[in-house]
Structure formats: structure tokens, C-alpha cells
């Protein structure tokens, strides 16, 4: 990078360098090799920025960067990268599995006679930000909607009024949760003791 001489007057054209960041790991692509998703990063770069891919992953570039490491360090770095990659892959499949099984419950709770609130739990397991979703529900249904702590220590969204059906549709259509993973429950106040 050349040192630019400092201009006294502010330049009129934007001077900020435009830097490409990896669409997979968010780092500058030259650093992808240090993350756990190196393989995916490489595929992404090849697809979106073939010229940069060519420059970073050409044989010369790889040999040049490795030659500055001692053989021992090279082996260690390789092992390190493999380990990280395996870890990331395992975490990803675990997450996917958990997501496939995670249930969302939409519970209609009778508060008073004919007064209901709808409690939605389990959205966070599908990668949703509860605060944002609660805000969206509030706007969408023009009603009170907030995130509250549950007795079991988790959090759920409580929406004023009976909006179970609309919330079901939203969770499936917008939230992308498979229908089989969403369950509507009715909770009558003062259940007969069973």
C-alpha cells in the first residue's frame, strides 16, 4: 500500500477504499484460511469474486504464504485448520438437527371471561430475535406485545388478544418454521383439577 501524501483540503470525491468481505465468515477473504469455514469461504469467493479467488488461491500464492512458515508450524496450522473446520461442521449439523426438532407453541390463555392473551414460545430456537418479533406482532395486530420471562427461566412473547391463527400463519409463512413444528394450545383458566 503506497503512502498517500496528506492533502490539506478535504477531497471532494469519497476516498474510502471499498473492501470486499467474505459472505460466509465476514472477514476479508485473505483471512478465511484462519476460520473454521475455509472450504465454504473458498467456494463463495470462487462464485462471487473469481478474480480475487484466482489471486488468493493460486498455487503460487499458497506456496508463497506457506514458505514463510516453518515446516512444523505448517503442520500445526494445517491440523488447527482441520480441527476448526470439523468443529464448525459439527456445530452446524447439531444446530440444524436442533432446529428441525424445535417446537414452537402458540398458547391461547383465557385471562378473564372472553379476554385472552396469546403466548408464543420456542421461536428463539429457530433463530428469531424475540424482541424484534414481539415488536412486529404488536404492530401487525395493533395490540400490546412483549417478551416476558417464563417460570421455567426461558422467555416467551405474550400478545394481548386471541391471535393464535394469525400468529400460526406468520410463524409458518414469515418465520419459515415447518408446520409440523408449530402447535396451538388452548389453556382454559381454572382447569378442572385432574
Amino acid at each position: 500500500m503506497a503512502e498517500t501524501t496528506q492533502a490539506e483540503a478535504a477531497p471532494t470525491e469519497p476516498q474510502a477504499r471499498h473492501v470486499i468481505y467474505c459472505g460466509v465468515c465476514t472477514l476479508p477473504p485473505e483471512y478465511c484460511e484462519f476460520g473454521g469455514t475455509a472450504k465454504k469461504c473458498k467456494e463463495w469467493l470462487e462464485k462471487t469474486h473469481p478474480d480475487m479467488h484466482e489471486r488468493l488461491y493460486s498455487e503460487e500464492a499458497i506456496t508463497a504464504s506457506l514458505s514463510t512458515l516453518s515446516v512444523d508450524a505448517q503442520k500445526r496450522a494445517e491440523k488447527d485448520a482441520k480441527k476448526k473446520e470439523a468443529k464448525a461442521a459439527a456445530a452446524e449439523s447439531r444446530e440444524k438437527e436442533a432446529r428441525e426438532q424445535a417446537m414452537v407453541y402458540i398458547k391461547r390463555v383465557e385471562r378473564n371471561k372472553r379476554k385472552y392473551v396469546t403466548a408464543v414460545s420456542g421461536l428463539e430456537a429457530h433463530g428469531m430475535d424475540l424482541k424484534k418479533v414481539a415488536k412486529e406482532f404488536g404492530k401487525k395486530f395493533a395490540t400490546g406485545s412483549s417478551v416476558t420471562k417464563t417460570a421455567s427461566g426461558g422467555e416467551e412473547i405474550v400478545v394481548q388478544g386471541d391471535n393464535s391463527d394469525d400468529i400460526f400463519d406468520w410463524v409458518v409463512d414469515v418465520g419459515g418454521v415447518p408446520e409440523d413444528n408449530v402447535e396451538c394450545i388452548e389453556d382454559k383458566k381454572k382447569k378442572s383439577a385432574g
Binding site: 500500500m1 503512502e3 498517500t4 496528506q6 492533502a7 490539506e8 483540503a9 478535504a10 477531497p11 469519497p14 476516498q15 474510502a16 477504499r17 473492501v19 465468515c25 465476514t26 472477514l27 476479508p28 485473505e30 483471512y31 484462519f34 476460520g35 508463497a64 504464504s65 514463510t68 512458515l69 516453518s70 508450524a73 496450522a77 488447527d80
Partner: protein, 181 residues
């Protein structure tokens, strides 16, 4: 500083007088940034202040983090700002072997800078203890770490060991990954 993933706390609008003071402080700390400050923080823009853990204040513009400050320490740019204007900051370089340690949040030690692949300023460009330095890496174009020096560059050259930087902001850390929209 941001080894763990973080989420931002309360967000508030920065008063225009305070925003002016921040701009002044940034230019004082990084004189070479003066010609570009209007591009980074336009005069009529509205900065947001976000509270981060460990008494760090983050200044953001339209949900883009720009600068952060730990208590009364010097104000420090986000790495994306450094990538936009790299020539405006004092830079030193680590060797390739040190990169993976830096990216995992390890303390930066002197040997990473004094080895053949490292780079320290010559006479005239020395940095003092407490100065903010941007850390570049051998064979890489973009900087990977920024923070306050625990040791001046002359000391680093002389002693060749010891802690150089332990509370910086590095590529892929919690601040890098922070989403504030």
C-alpha cells in the same frame, strides 16, 4: 477486549455538541484522518451511542459501528473504518505465524513483531506506550488488530519479549460480529 460475543445495550442519540467534540477528538488522535472526517461522520449526520459490556461506548452511524472507547482511554476506530482509510493510522506488522493467535484473541507478544516477517517503525516513526497502533500482517493487505500499545516500539525492538497488546479489537471478535440494527 471483545473476545466474547456481545450484544449492544441501550442506544441513544448523541447531542450535536457532543458529536462535534467526538469529531474533534478523533482528528486530534488521528491527524491524518482530518481530510476524511466529513466522509466518515458527515456534518449533518446523527451519531448513536451504544453501551457495550465492560464500560465500552460504541459510536455508530446508521447502524454501522465506527469508533469505540473504553472508559477514558483513547477513542479507537472499528476495523472496517481502518480498512477504508488504512494510510491514516500508525501501523506495525506481525509475522504470518502470529496471525492465527491474534485471530483467536490471544495477547500480542513482542516476538510476533521482531521476527523476520514482522515490521516495526524506523526512527522518526516510533510509537510510545499507550499509543494506538493498527496491526497489519505479513502477506495480507488488510489490518487484523487495533488497540493500545502496552510497550513502545523501541522497547519492543530492544527487549524482543513481553506483552505488546492485550485489549485490542481483532478480525472476527465480538465487536466485529456485533449486529446493532
Amino acid at each position: 477486549m471483545f473476545k466474547k460475543d456481545i450484544s449492544a445495550g441501550a442506544k441513544s442519540k448523541v447531542k450535536s455538541s457532543v458529536q462535534r467534540a467526538i469529531r474533534t477528538k478523533i482528528v486530534e488522535t488521528y491527524p491524518l484522518l482530518a481530510p476524511h472526517i466529513d466522509e466518515i461522520i458527515p456534518k449533518k449526520s446523527q451519531l448513536d451511542l451504544l453501551k457495550l459490556p465492560d464500560r465500552v461506548s460504541l459510536y455508530a452511524l446508521d447502524n454501522t459501528p465506527l469508533f469505540w472507547q473504553h472508559m477514558d482511554d483513547p477513542i479507537i476506530p472499528h476495523l472496517r473504518v481502518i480498512h477504508q482509510f488504512p494510510q491514516c493510522f500508525p501501523r506495525i506488522g506481525i509475522d504470518r505465524g502470529a496471525i492465527r493467535f491474534v485471530l483467536s484473541g490471544a495477547t500480542l507478544m513482542a516476538p510476533g513483531l521482531t521476527s523476520a516477517g514482522g515490521r516495526l517503525p524506523d526512527e522518526g516513526g516510533q510509537l510510545k506506550e499507550g499509543d494506538i497502533a493498527v496491526i497489519e500482517a505479513e502477506g495480507k493487505e488488510e489490518a487484523c488488530l487495533v488497540g493500545q500499545l502496552r510497550m513502545g516500539t523501541e522497547d519492543i525492538k530492544e527487549k524482543k519479549k513481553g506483552v505488546v497488546m492485550d485489549t485490542g479489537h481483532y478480525l472476527g471478535d465480538g465487536l466485529w460480529k456485533l449486529n446493532i440494527d
